[in-house]
């Protein structure tokens, strides 16, 4: 199940052009599939019984656009409301956020909206926010209409896609769309270095750390 993902092209170490590093945070109610989206994007895998995330998990993935290599530092947060107090520590200084809801559960959509509000109020002003309606493979159990989400996203200037971590539908697309939208000038990249909250002294601007952070193999 881990193979046919067409995972983003790994960054060849010899690629010319600049390398930008961005901090991205995933937010949303628990059990909507945040960790599953990340796992699909980073490793091309899917686990039906993905265990709950405690605190937060961290992963990286690199994607290539035309002339830039974008490296995502992905912070996958715990969904339980109780962990909310930790959230600012993770979204502080993030250049991008994916707010996830579950299309089969109306409550998770409402929760997503409050996350968007909180980000607009408290995160960095230029943050790129994407809304992901996950579990699109369960469309026969749909409770959140596609059009409702589209109009909400338009009103708030969010990127929007319905995704499925299980079938890999639109998973890479949403990350690529964010990568496209992020400013790739020097300011963007340098803003990143300052933003290292959470005690992140992200010292490396070295490319592809040789670890299995690229693609599925």
């Amino acid at each position: 199940m881990a193979t046919r993902t067409g995972a983003p092209r790994p960054a060849n170490s010899g690629t010319q052009g600049k390398i930008c590093q961005f901090k991205l945070v995933l937010l949303g109610e628990s059990a909507v599939g945040k960790s599953s989206l990340v796992l699909r994007f980073v490793k091309g895998q899917f686990h039906e019984y993905q265990e709950s995330t405690i605190g937060a998990a961290f992963l990286t993935q690199t994607v290539c656009l035309q002339d830039t290599t974008v490296k995502f530092e992905i912070w996958d947060t715990a969904g339980q409301e109780r962990y909310h107090s930790l959230a600012p520590m993770y979204y502080r200084g993030a250049q991008a956020a994916i707010v996830v809801y579950d299309i089969t559960n109306q409550d998770t959509f409402a929760r997503a909206k409050t996350w968007v509000k909180e980000l607009q109020r408290q995160a960095s002003p230029n943050i790129v926010i994407a809304l992901a309606g996950n579990k699109a493979d369960l469309s026969n159990k749909r409770m959140v209409e596609h059009d409702d989400a589209v109009s909400y996203a338009e009103e708030n200037g969010l990127l929007f896609m319905e995704t499925s971590a299980k079938t890999a539908m639109h998973v890479n697309d949403i990350f690529l769309a964010i990568a496209e939208k992020l400013p790739k000038n020097e300011a963007g990249a340098s803003a990143n270095r300052q933003s290292a909250g959470v005690g992140l002294t992200a010292t490396d601007n070295r490319e592809g750390s040789g670890k299995s952070c690229c693609g599925s193999n």
């Binding site: 628990s30 039906e48 993905q50 605190g55 961290f58 530092e73 002294t201 010292t203 490396d204």
Partner: protein, 861 residues
């Protein structure tokens, strides 16, 4: 010699219905395979113990939805009695038949009282032990297949089925039979067969069987039914005699063969009607053994199996190399694979045109599992008698087993060793809580997997009427946390075949809710589910014990971690953890701090779940076996041990690599972690892990065996003790603090003023200590800790040289003493750490704290 084998074990296997492909449940997760559902349901059957039941000992899942159910098994059955010739005369035979059915009714009544019904009662399912006591078998099928729903065919044999059972099979709108009255009907048919010594409707086809049973429905009274049924036997039997036995037989039949189940009696009602007249039964009834074997005084001629219950025998059977699945499958007819190819397969994976192969039909046959191997290995002789029957109160001559030095995994699979350990623990647990100290002592060696759940409860000091307490907790009223629990439970340790069954999910939810309700000031944090799952797994059939063990565990190791606002507790814990790491591995600690890889980023799931979220169950078991013996600071040592195992990788990694390493924790050698953590624990001064938020008083008092077993957090506090400092200040500290009383105890100092020195300089086994006094030589000469080394701070002094000098003495603890007010010690310690000196800590409160005590002396020079 006593007749050796009274029972043996047997295994029944069957295949549950396959589920449609590519469908998922309401929560979007895949449907649970029927075999897994069944496995979860079946566990409860192990708790049924009655003299007229063959008790179940284990259940397993095989491939292709196959379930294996292991239970007691006897070779003789009522079926044999019906079909084989007998020497008994007519009268005696009636008496005998009555006895059998009386036993059967007793068994059915017990089942009914526990809420179970059999629905597949037939002569082959009534086994007879050596005393001729009838023992029901196969009674669990109805429960473990959820009333037959998980099977693809009907349950039970048509001939013995009551009319309502047959109707519900024929017409789906008629609800399934759910009353033990159906079993009474079957028992009556068996009784008739017994009386006639002939099988009813032998070799009659199923279709006409249905017809014949349903024809009985026309009869309004049970008298008529008895008449009609009796005519179906070749030999006619008169029930008109007036002796006591015949009267009683008639009571059973007349109450049991009513077509309308509403008019039929329950097993209990019939038993009551038979009443006390039935003293004739006693001749063949053995004493109530309650599912156990008769006790005998141990001698060299005894068979130790007699003292064990069937579950223990089963455990040993497996250790002796038994392979149940292979043995059973050998006896199951299999179809060659080529004949199992379907005609066509839909894109969704549904199969059509498959010929029903015999192994997929429901055909519960028993496979006898021979106990010969176990028995021969258990032969008692003068050498092993003290191992098989360990004496607890006598100072026995070295009962330790030769295998005791082998690695844990080998010990756990060593037959002889486990026989000894299980026998020992059986006795210790019988003597609990009186023998708790002995239990603790043995647990330091190892804990047999067979009794881990009970031993853990003992180590955690669980006692009292748990059942009563548990029942009284409201676990049903909906609470706000329900949704969170409902989404977390179905993804918690789901690789485990027991925990992924719906029954397990229900249990987990109930135990979690019970814990929440019984601790109203605490709340559910994600991660609590992982913690709870460990206890539910080990105490699957004992929710009260799971709940009580978990409560005790959290009180001790996770005190206040689950408060609504737990940040102060967790923050303190993590700072103390970094300090402990610095104490044991200054270079690693410096590196991690340098790259900003702080414990907040990786260690919260570790400590919040005591590693239950990061390791699979089999590793947690071994880790907690040791954790439970340590005090509330022990988990910190485990954390240090894990980091040290990954030391090489961590030292070479930058921030991103470190965090990637931990987001997908590499294979950790748990045995290594356990050993290392004990070492870490033994080399840490106990006050170095002082926490303000720890549990203040230890509920479970125990003998303090050595310096280390004392939990500093629960000791009485004096003016020399560690005191709380604000979190912000604690974070500023670069290394551990050691308290004055701890220092005094470690140096075995005796002050002049005894009332203020809590030290009893008697306890052995303490770490070697080196004391550096960094005050000026002037101050030093006016009074210092005996044996301390003066190193006045000056810019030109070489720290590396000092470190070299200290290292030569290889002390385990290096205490830095300075002045309380100036806090130059911080800077100084940091220098020592950078040089990689291990064991550095600062005297809490500086030299001033020791002044009133009178331990300071003037240096001799």
């Amino acid at each position: 010699l006593f007749p050796l084998m009274k029972c043996s074990l047997g295994c029944m296997s069957f295949v549950t219905a396959a589920l449609p492909h590519n469908q998922c449940g309401i929560n979007g997760l895949p449907l649970t395979p029927n075999s897994i559902t069944s496995l979860g349901l079946a566990q409860q059957l192990k708790t049924l113990k009655h003299e007229n039941l063959c008790s179940y000992v284990d259940f397993r899942c095989g491939r292709h939805e196959r379930i294996f159910a292991v239970s007691e098994l006897y070779v003789d059955s009522v079926f044999n009695k019906i079909t084989q010739p007998t020497e008994l005369k007519q009268d005696d035979w009636r008496k005998y038949s009555l006895n059998i059915v009386h036993g059967v009714l007793n068994g059915l009544n017990y089942l009914n009282s526990k809420g179970y019904i059999q629905l597949n009662l037939e002569p082959k399912n009534i086994l007879l032990n050596e005393n001729g006591t009838p023992k029901l078998s196969g009674y669990g099928l109805h429960h473990m297949t959820d009333g037959g729903k998980l099977l693809s065919g009907p349950l039970g044999s048509l001939k013995y089925s009551s009319p309502e059972q047959i109707l519900s099979c024929c017409y789906s709108e008629i609800p399934m039979a759910t009353s033990s009255k159906s079993d009474v009907w079957s028992a009556c048919i068996v009784l008739l067969e017994l009386l006639h010594r002939e099988l009813l409707w032998d070799s009659v086809e199923n279709k006409s069987l249905v017809k014949r049973v349903l024809c009985l429905s026309a009869n309004k009274s049970s008298h008529k039914n008895i008449e009609v049924l009796c005519q179906n036997f070749k030999e006619n039997l008169s029930l008109n005699e007036t002796d006591d036995v015949t009267k009683l037989i008639k009571v059973i039949l007349e109450n049991g063969l009513n077509v309308e189940s509403s008019q039929r009696a329950t097993p209990l009602q019939i038993l009551n009607k038979l009443g006390k007249d039935l003293n004739l039964t006693n001749e063949q009834q053995p004493a109530d053994t309650n599912g156990k074997f008769e006790k005998t005084v141990p001698s060299e001629n005894t068979n130790p199996l007699m003292e064990m219950d069937s579950e223990e025998i089963w455990c040993l059977w497996n250790l002796a190399g038994g392979d149940m699945v292979a043995e059973v499958l050998r006896s199951v007819t299999t179809t060659p694979p080529i004949r199992t190819v379907p005609l066509f397969v839909t894109v969704h994976g549904d199969l059509y045109g498959l010929e029903p192969s015999p192994e997929n039909l429901f055909n519960p046959g028993y496979k006898l599992l021979s106990l010969d191997t176990v028995e021969s290995r258990l032969e008692v002789n003068t050498e092993n008698i003290s191992l098989i029957y360990p004496l607890l109160e006598l100072k026995s001559p070295d009962v330790s087993h030769e295998s005791a030095k082998l690695p844990l995994l080998i010990r756990e699979n060593d037959f002889d060793y486990q026989v000894h350990r299980i026998a020992l623990y059986r006795r210790l647990l019988l003597g609990y809580p009186y023998l708790r100290d002995k239990l603790l002592k043995e647990a330091r060696i190892d804990i047999p997997p067979y009794c881990r759940g009970r031993v853990w409860a003992g180590l955690l000091d669980v006692k009292g009427d748990l059942e009563e307490q548990y029942i009284n907790i409201d676990k049903d009223t909906p609470i706000v946390t329900d949704r969170q629990i409902a989404v977390d439970v179905p993804r918690c340790h789901q690789y485990d075949s027991m925990l992924c069954s719906p029954t397990a999910h229900e249990k987990l939810k109930r135990v979690l809710k019970a814990w929440l309700m019984s601790h109203p000031h605490l709340t559910y944090w994600q991660g609590l589910d992982s913690l709870c799952a460990v206890f539910v797994h080990l105490n699957f059939n004992d929710e009260p014990r799971a709940w009580a063990s978990m409560s005790q565990f959290i009180d001790k190791y996770l005190h206040d971690f689950f408060l609504k606002d737990n940040s102060a507790i967790i923050q303190e814990y993590l700072v103390v953890f970094s300090h402990l790491l610095t104490f044991h591995d200054p270079l690693l600690s410096c590196h991690m701090q340098e790259i900003g890889f702080i414990p907040d980023l990786y260690a919260i799931p570790w400590f919040l779940t005591m590693f239950a979220h990061v390791f699979p169950l089999h590793k947690i078991f071994h880790l907690w076996d040791t954790l439970l013996l340590g005090n509330s600071s022990f988990p910190l040592c485990i954390g240090v041990a894990i980091l040290q195992q990954l030391r090489g990788q961590l030292l070479q990694s930058d921030f991103n690599e470190c965090i990637l390493l931990f987001s997908d924790l590499p294979e950790i050698d748990i045995d290594g972690v356990v050993k290392k953590s004990i070492q870490v624990f033994c080399q840490s001064p106990k006050s170095s892990t002082f926490r303000v938020h720890a549990q203040k008083e230890e509920k479970c008092k125990r003998q303090t065996v050595s310096y280390y077993t004392e939990d500093y957090n629960t000791l009485p506090k004096t003016e020399l003790s560690e005191t709380a400092i604000p979190l912000s200040e604690l974070k500023q500290e670069v290394c551990c603090r050691i308290s004055a009383d701890d220092l005094i105890q470690l140096c075995e100092l005796k002050g002049s003023n005894n009332s203020k020195t809590p030290a009893k300089a008697t306890k052995s086994g303490k770490p070697r200590i080196f004391i550096i006094d960094i005050r000026s030589s002037d101050e030093f000469s006016r009074g210092c800790v005996p044996g301390s080394f003066n190193f006045p701070l000056a810019p030109n002094k070489s720290i590396p040289q000092l470190v070299q000098m200290i290292s030569k003495q290889s002390p385990k603890v290096v205490v830095v003493i300075g002045n309380k007010s100036t806090r130059e010690d911080r800077e100084f310690c940091f220098e020592l750490l950078k040089e990689g000196l291990k064991g550095v800590c600062v005297l809490h409160g500086g030299i001033d704290i020791l002044k009133p005590v009178g331990v300071l002396t003037v240096p001799s020079q």
